[in-house]
């Protein structure tokens, strides 16, 4: 197990370097000027050159990347061009906000997705299967920003039950765990949970159907196990894959959703990324992408480890 663990962690290093290099190159070849947010439309060439020098954009790209990487390794992701605030603080604050709704969305998505998936798989071909499959397909197909808007119209504008946006009445800095604040999480979390719910449901349905066709199931029944006992074995066999899928989905959710967080004005990583892209704020963009990529990589490692613990066959591969 230790060798397996060490291998998984070692794989992280080249991936992390590759991701940071790729992010750096990607944001530099995108159209637009990185100083858009601080340069006026009528800036003279001299002013442009001066600001480029002050912000270090006059240096060769490899030098810029090297300097950025050195600082990033020390936890300093630089300063946002647009706001003048440290990128690391901005990113961690946003990650914290996204975690709030991502975890809630994961729980909702995993529970509902597993439920619909098991029901559909266990009763394959029945009307229950068809109903559960329709829900799963809708979850994957419905544009989530559209769903978010519809929910805002229904639950905020028409019924007035839930707030339409924001991260609490005083902003995320004054967050409290009471209904007044938690009510702000509900609509974005539900909207966010719809896609993972659909994906988990479809995965689990296929898994359950496959497991039920395996030879050990009739053997279990022959041993006298009742439906519930068989069901427990099916769950145990389906769990590693379902967990792996959900782990990946949590990774996606941690990246926030630019659209969902914009619709709900939720100050998370998606909202931050959207701002960084539109303002061509390179340090903020690079820092956010790097942190999110590291989250994703770490989550994958964690999922691999959990899979290894649950299924010894994985460790032997």
């Amino acid at each position: 197990m230790l060798t397996y663990l060490a291998k998984r962690i070692l794989y992280v290093l080249p991936v992390a370097f590759g991701v940071s290099l790729f992010c750096f190159l990607l944001v530099h070849i995108a159209p637009g000027d990185p100083l858009t947010s601080v340069l006026p439309p009528d800036a003279s060439q001299a002013m442009q050159d001066e600001l480029r020098r002050i912000y270090g954009f006059d240096r060769p790209l490899p030098v810029q990347f090297g300097l950025w990487l050195m600082k990033a390794l020390q936890g300093d992701l630089g300063t946002s061009i647009a706001t003048g605030r440290p990128v690391a603080a901005e990113v961690w604050r946003a990650v914290g906000n996204t975690l709030l709704i991502a975890i809630l969305a994961t729980i909702i998505g995993f529970l509902l997705g597993s439920f619909f998936g098991f029901v559909a798989g266990y009763f394959r071909g029945s009307w229950l299967d068809k109903m559960a499959s329709i829900v799963a397909v809708l979850g994957v197909s419905v544009p989530h920003y559209w769903l978010g808007m519809v929910m805002v119209i229904v639950f905020s504008v028409q019924l007035g039950w839930l707030p339409p946006g924001g991260a609490g009445p005083g902003g995320s800095a004054a967050w409290k765990w009471d209904w007044e604040h938690v009510s702000y999480m509900i609509l974005p979390a539900i909207t966010m949970s719809v896609i993972p719910m659909g994906i988990v449901a479809r995965t689990v349905r296929a898994l359950v159907a496959d497991i039920l066709n395996q030879e050990f199931v009739p053997a279990l029944r022959a041993k006298g196990l009742m439906d519930f006992g068989v069901f427990k074995h099916v769950v145990k066999n389906a769990a590693p894959t379902a967990l792996a899928v959900m782990g990946l989905q949590l990774g996606y959710l941690l990246g926030g959703s630019i659209l969902i967080e914009t619709v709900f004005s939720w100050p998370g990583t998606g909202f931050l990324l959207g701002n960084a892209i539109f303002q061509r704020d390179l340090p903020l963009l690079q820092g956010t992408i790097l942190v999110l990529a590291m989250f994703f990589v770490t989550l994958n490692v964690l999922v691999d480890i959990v899979q290894g613990l649950l299924d010894p066959r994985v460790r032997r591969r």
Partner: protein, 550 residues
């Protein structure tokens, strides 16, 4: 009930009702505003986020030497005294100006506003040697006052400003230089940990602390900043201008960049005011009892035409024909009424109007006639390629509007091809010019602009000194006549004479038509009926100070 019990009950009731009434009276008057910006505009005195920044974290918290008059919805918004009560250019050296400062003005931290503060604020963006020099404030400030070079204190209430060349536009430009408190900044610098030794880094941290706890001389004082989420300001009851002493206790600014999210926030009473409601939602907003304010803004939605060799626009008849061929009333209907029909860069009645001889209107017959005279017909249309974007700041609804133009001009023998680019690429090409390969062969570009000050409204598009890449004369329009008109305006130091010179310039621009003028934005904003005293001026800005909340 015994008498004493009755008396006690009556006293209790009286006490309760008094307490309730006092509580109601003491209830804080809060105004919550949903901005289009995705982040709080910077709060240190030189806001970013375009003019929305000046509107919400500039003008409410800070004053400049000169102000825009935002008190009328009918008259053009013009420059009036702000922290300076009067000013004059030196009789012999036209690069030197003397500004007399308003006495008795204090910053919100209690320090005095004097000429030293003006020098300090000029130095923050122009003097690289100054301890408080702020590179990130240069961009949004210096280009808006391109000729200002330095400042010198004459006495505590007199300051001398020097420009690089004679420039009558300086008092207008100075509306963009907001006065931040030097004493407050010095206190923030002193609080930077001694472990930070680099002077530039210390200054940067002092400005960051100043942004979180700003101090200007304006009617509101910033009190709470939650980055990307909210900014709160409270009334400065000691404000120097009684007409602008706030009646609202607290203003909360919320960035809500998505139009539908802003509309939902208003309709669900999460905010009292939203900028730019979604046009489709305007009827519903009105139906729910909210008020939608609009007024013609100094904004132009144009096609800027190319005068490069081979361009069809070199022929004035073609330029005039295009201006006459667009039924702007129909376009206004398409936009739900949220535009104003232009007659030029500035509207009739504006001090710079100038009564041009060419009347921009819809006259299909005249347009066709001009095109026929220019040698075009349905069989031989004028080929036009327009560079535009799918979105972008101030662009309104660029695709439907350009498609409308495409259809409209077809009637007048134009064959319009739309070249849709990414907004930043289109914007960057605005400076590169029509001859650049990045213009993709376009002979017109569709970048909207603000027309508040003469340089941004007219000079940069018509001077031979502003050909690409110097500035935004994308189409290379200009000649000796226009250079002279510009020079006349720049050297007319009496306000009326300067306006007269600018009016001549504007009239000639309209007559020569280097643009197809299509629309002025009307800056729609929707507000709850409980917000009173709202004046929506003919400006990009609006004054919150005289408003009240019921």
């Amino acid at each position: 009930m015994s008498r004493s019990t009755f008396s006690r009950s009556a006293l209790l009731a009286l006490g309760l009702s008094t307490a309730l009434a006092t509580g109601a009276l003491a209830q804080e008057k809060v105004l919550r505003i949903g901005m289009t910006a995705a982040d709080i505009p910077r709060t240190h005195g030189q806001p970013d986020q375009g003019f929305e920044g000046n509107r919400f974290t500039g003008i409410p918290m800070y004053d400049a030497l000169t102000h825009w008059d935002l008190s009328s919805a009918d008259k053009a918004s013009v420059v009036i005294p702000g922290l300076a009560t009067e000013w004059a250019v030196d009789a012999t050296d036209k690069t030197k100006w003397t500004f007399k400062l308003r006495p008795g003005v204090k910053f919100q931290d209690g320090s005095d506003f004097t000429s030293a503060a003006v020098v300090w604020n000029v130095d923050k963006v122009l003097n690289k040697e100054a301890a408080h020099f702020a590179p990130d404030q240069i961009g949004v400030t210096v280009s808006r006052m391109p000729t200002l070079k330095s400042a010198r204190a004459i006495d505590p209430l007199t300051v001398e400003l020097t420009t690089s060349e004679p420039d009558a536009f300086l008092p207008i430009n100075l509306t963009n230089l907001f006065m931040a408190s030097p004493a407050h900044w010095a206190a923030k610098l002193a609080a930077v940990p001694a472990s930070v030794t680099d002077a530039g880094e210390r200054a940067k941290q002092a400005w960051a602390a100043f942004s979180a706890d700003p101090s200007g001389t304006g009617p509101f004082k910033g009190t709470r900043l939650v980055p990307r989420e909210r900014f709160e300001m409270v009334a400065n009851k000691a404000y120097w201008d009684p007409k602008r002493t706030p009646k609202i206790d607290r203003v909360v600014l919320l960035p809500l960049p998505e139009a539908n999210a802003r509309t939902a926030a208003l309709l669900s009473n999460q905010v009292d005011w939203i900028e730019s409601p979604s046009p489709d939602a305007v009827p519903q907003i009105k139906q729910r009892g909210f008020t939608v304010y609009t007024n013609a803004q100094p904004h132009v939605w144009p096609w800027q035409l190319s005068f490069a060799e081979g361009s069809v626009w070199l022929d004035k008849k073609v330029r005039h024909a295009a201006n006459l061929c667009v039924n702007r009333e129909e376009l206004k209907t398409l936009l739900g009424g949220l535009m104003e029909i232009p007659k030029g860069t500035v509207p009739p009645g504006h001090p710079w109007w100038g009564n041009p001889s060419f009347d921009i209107k819809y006259d299909l017959a005249a347009a066709k006639k001009l095109m026929t005279e220019a040698g075009f017909s349905a069989a031989k249309p004028a080929k036009v390629k327009v560079l535009t974007s799918a979105s972008g700041s101030g662009q309104m609804q660029p695709l439907p509007m350009n498609e409308f133009m495409q259809q409209a001009l077809k009637e007048c023998f134009f064959d319009v091809q739309l070249e849709v680019g990414e907004w930043n690429a289109v914007f960057t090409n605005w400076r590169e010019g029509a001859k650049s390969p990045n213009a993709r062969g376009a002979n017109a570009t569709n970048v909207t602009f603000a027309a508040m000050d003469p340089f941004f409204a007219m000079v940069r598009f018509t001077s031979t000194k502003t050909f690409p890449p110097v500035s935004n004369n994308w189409g290379y329009f200009g000649n000796d006549e226009f250079d002279k008109l510009i020079a006349d305006a720049r050297t007319s130091f009496d306000g009326a004479a300067r306006d007269a010179a600018l009016a001549k310039l504007h009239a000639r621009i309209v007559e020569e038509a280097p643009f197809v003028w299509v629309a002025h934005d009307v800056g729609p904003r929707a507000m709850s009926a409980k917000v009173k005293g709202v004046v929506q001026p003919k400006s990009w800005f609006i004054d919150i100070a005289p408003m009240s909340v019921e």
